[in-house]
C-alpha cells in the first residue's frame, strides 16, 4: 500500500471515529435518564420554568434533529451558547486554549528532557544498582498522582522557600517572565509524572536495542557502549519512543484538567470543571468534544507518522498503545 493511500485510509478512520465520538458525547449528555433543563435549573425548579427552558434550548425538538443541528454547528466552528450566561462558547473556549496548550507542551518538553537520558542510563546500567534505582524511582513516580506532586511542589517552592507563586496565571503577552514563573510548578507537576512513565518505555526500547545483533556487532568492532547506543540505539528506539510521546500528549491533555484546578489556571480544564459545577451542559458538551477530537487527532497523527516511517505498518490502522503495553 502506498504512503498516500495509507494516510488517506487513516484520515477516513479518523473522520468515522470522530463522527461516532460526537454521537457518544451528544448521547451521554442528552439521552441519559434525566432532563437537561431540570439538571440546569435544579431539583426545586417549577415544571413551567423547566418547560420554558426546554423550549428556549430547543430541547423540545427530536434528539436526532438536535444532534444534526449541533453537528452542523461544530463543522462550522459554532459550538453554541452557554446555557447559564448566554455567551458564545467558541470564543470563550479559544481564550483558554493558550493556557492549556502551554501547560501541555511545556510539560511534554520537561518529560522528554528528563526521561530520555534517564531511560537510556537505566537501560545501559540495567544490571547495576544505579540502573535499578532509576527504574525504582520511575515506578514510584508512576504511582503518585500529578495533583499530589503539585501539592508537594507548592509546599516546597511556594510555602517553604517562597521562590514561586502557589497559583494564578499571567498571559504571555502581558508579562512573559511572570507567565513562565507561574507555569513552572504546574508544568513540573505534570511533567515529572509523565517523565516517570516515559522512562519505563525509553528503558524498554533501549534494552531491546541492546539485545540486537547489530548492537553486539558494533561493540565487537570496538565501539563504546555510548557510541553504539547513540548511533544505532536512538534511531531504532526512536520510533517506539515517538509513538509513546504522541500518545502521552493525550494523557497530558486530560491531566491538565486536574492540574489547572490545583493551580487555578484559567485553561480549558478549569472551564470544563466550572461548567460541570454550574450545570452548563452545552459548555461541557463542547469542551469534551474538543478534547476528544484532539485525542483522536493525536492518535491519527501518530499512526500516520508511524506508517510514513515504517513501511511494514502501512496496512494497519490501529491506534492507541500496542498490545502488551502497560496502559
Amino acid at each position: 500500500m502506498s504512503i498516500a493511500r495509507a494516510l488517506l485510509r487513516r484520515l477516513a478512520v479518523f473522520a468515522a471515529s470522530w463522527l461516532v465520538a460526537s454521537v457518544v458525547v451528544f448521547g451521554l449528555i442528552n439521552l441519559l435518564p434525566g432532563d437537561v433543563a431540570g439538571v440546569i435549573l435544579g431539583s426545586s425548579a417549577k415544571p413551567a420554568d423547566i418547560a420554558a427552558l426546554r423550549q428556549q434550548m430547543g430541547l423540545d425538538l427530536p434528539a436526532p434533529l438536535r444532534y444534526l443541528h449541533w453537528l452542523g454547528g461544530l463543522l462550522h466552528g459554532d459550538f453554541g451558547r452557554s446555557a447559564i450566561g448566554g455567551w458564545p462558547i467558541g470564543p470563550q473556549m479559544a481564550s483558554t486554549l493558550g493556557v492549556t496548550f502551554s501547560l501541555v507542551l511545556l510539560s511534554m518538553i520537561v518529560a522528554v528532557a528528563v526521561a530520555l537520558p534517564l531511560g537510556a542510563f537505566s537501560a545501559m546500567r540495567r544490571r547495576r544498582a544505579s540502573g535499578a534505582v532509576v527504574s525504582g524511582l520511575s515506578q514510584l513516580g508512576m504511582s503518585v498522582p500529578a495533583f499530589l506532586v503539585g501539592l508537594a511542589l507548592v509546599l516546597l517552592f511556594a510555602v517553604k522557600l517562597h521562590w514561586l507563586p502557589a497559583s494564578g496565571y499571567t498571559p504571555l503577552t502581558q508579562d512573559p517572565l511572570d507567565w513562565l514563573r507561574r507555569l513552572v510548578l504546574p508544568v513540573l507537576a505534570l511533567g515529572i509524572v509523565q517523565a516517570a512513565v516515559l522512562v519505563r518505555y525509553v528503558r524498554g526500547a533501549f534494552v531491546d536495542v541492546l539485545s540486537q545483533d547489530y548492537f553486539r556487532t558494533a561493540r565487537a568492532v570496538g565501539w563504546t557502549n555510548r557510541r553504539a547506543l547513540m548511533r544505532h540505539g536512538v534511531r531504532n528506539a526512536g520510533l517506539q519512543i515517538i509513538t509513546v510521546i504522541g500518545l502521552q500528549l493525550a494523557t497530558l491533555l486530560v491531566g491538565a484538567v486536574v492540574i489547572e484546578s490545583v493551580f487555578v489556571l484559567p485553561g480549558m480544564g478549569k472551564m470544563l470543571l466550572d461548567s460541570v459545577a454550574t450545570h452548563d451542559l452545552p459548555v461541557v458538551q463542547a469542551i469534551v468534544m474538543v478534547l476528544v477530537t484532539l485525542i483522536l487527532a493525536i492518535n491519527a497523527v501518530v499512526d500516520m507518522a508511524y506508517a510514513a516511517i515504517d513501511p511494514r505498518l502501512r496496512s494497519q490502522t490501529s491506534t492507541g498503545p500496542d498490545e502488551g503495553a502497560d496502559e
Binding site: 451521554l28 441519559l32 504511582s143 501539592l151 508537594a152 492518535n299
Partner: protein, 271 residues
C-alpha cells in the same frame, strides 16, 4: 529482583486490603464525627495519625478510604474484564470485518479517558457519584483489556494444538473456553493488576475534583483536596492520604510487574 517486585507488591496490596477489611468491622473513631475541640491535632494518642480541620480522626478516614479505593478498583476492573476480555477474544477469533469493527470501537472508547467519561456522566446526571466514577473508570479500561487479550489470543490461536482441535471439528466457543481462556489468563491477571492501580489513581483524581463519592464519604482524594486549604498552616495533613494513594498504586504496579515476570519467561533474557 524479579521476586522482590512480586513480594513487595503483594505486601503493599495486602496492607491496603487489610485496612479495607478492618474498616468494615472497626474504626477507632466515627470517621465523619466532627469534633471542633480536637482540630488539627498531630499524630499521637488516641488519634494515631492526628485530626483534620474539622477534628475528624485521620486514621479512621484512611481506613474507610481504603475500602472505597478497593471497591472502586474491583468494580472498575470487573467491568473492564467482563466487557474487554470477550471482545478481545472475539476480535482475535474473527479476523475479518467483525474483528476489525471491535478494535475500531475500542479505539473510539480509548479517546474517552476515565476522567472525561466521568465528567460527562457527572454533568448528565447532575453530579458525580461513586457509581459514575466506577462506571467511567471501568469503561475506559475496556480497550486495554480488549487489545491485550486480542494480541495474546491471536498467538494461542496460531498454535498447532489449536489447529489440530479445529481440524478435529471442535467449535470456536469450545476452543475459546478450553484452549484460549486458560492460556491468556496470566496476561489478563497482569492487566487486571495494572488496571487496578490506574483505577485508584483515577478515583483519587475524581474524588479530588468532587466528582466521585459524596462529601460525607471519606476518600483519599477528597482528603487531599480538604488538606489543600490548610497547606500554608498545616501542610502535614496532605501527607497521609498522599502516602496511602502512592503505596496502593505502587503495590498494584509492582504486583503486575512481578506477575508479568513470573508468567513471561522471555523477559528473563532481556532483563
Amino acid at each position: 529482583m524479579r521476586r522482590l517486585s512480586l513480594y513487595a507488591g503483594a505486601a503493599l496490596v495486602g496492607l491496603v486490603l487489610l485496612l479495607a477489611v478492618v474498616s468494615l468491622f472497626w474504626t477507632p473513631f466515627d470517621p465523619t464525627h466532627v469534633d471542633p475541640a480536637a482540630r488539627l491535632l498531630g499524630p499521637g494518642w488516641p488519634h494515631l495519625l492526628g485530626t483534620d480541620g474539622l477534628g475528624q480522626d485521620i486514621f479512621s478516614r484512611i481506613l474507610v478510604g481504603a475500602r472505597v479505593c478497593i471497591q472502586v478498583g474491583v468494580i472498575a476492573v470487573a467491568i473492564g474484564c467482563v466487557i474487554g476480555v470477550p471482545l478481545g477474544m472475539a476480535a482475535a477469533a474473527s479476523r475479518s470485518w467483525p474483528g476489525q469493527l471491535i478494535m475500531r470501537a475500542a479505539d473510539i472508547v480509548y479517546a474517552f479517558p476515565a476522567l472525561l467519561l466521568a465528567i460527562l456522566l457527572a454533568a448528565a446526571k447532575g453530579g458525580g457519584s461513586i457509581l459514575t466514577a466506577m462506571t467511567a473508570i471501568g469503561i475506559a479500561s475496556v480497550p486495554a483489556f480488549a487489545r491485550i487479550v486480542r494480541g495474546s489470543a491471536l498467538q494461542v490461536l496460531s498454535q498447532d494444538y489449536v489447529l489440530a482441535a479445529r481440524a478435529s471439528g471442535i467449535g470456536p466457543v469450545r476452543i475459546a473456553v478450553t484452549h484460549v481462556a486458560p492460556n491468556i489468563a496470566p496476561v489478563v491477571l497482569v492487566q487486571a493488576s495494572v488496571s487496578f492501580g490506574l483505577a485508584i489513581l483515577a478515583e483519587a483524581a475524581l474524588s479530588y475534583l468532587g466528582l466521585s463519592a459524596p462529601p460525607a464519604t471519606p476518600t483519599w482524594g477528597r482528603m487531599l483536596f480538604e488538606s489543600q486549604q490548610y497547606i500554608f498552616s498545616n501542610p502535614s495533613l496532605a501527607l497521609w492520604p498522599g502516602v496511602f494513594i502512592a503505596a496502593a498504586v505502587l503495590g498494584f504496579n509492582l504486583l503486575g510487574d512481578g506477575l508479568r515476570d513470573r508468567f513471561d519467561p522471555t523477559l528473563v533474557e532481556v532483563r
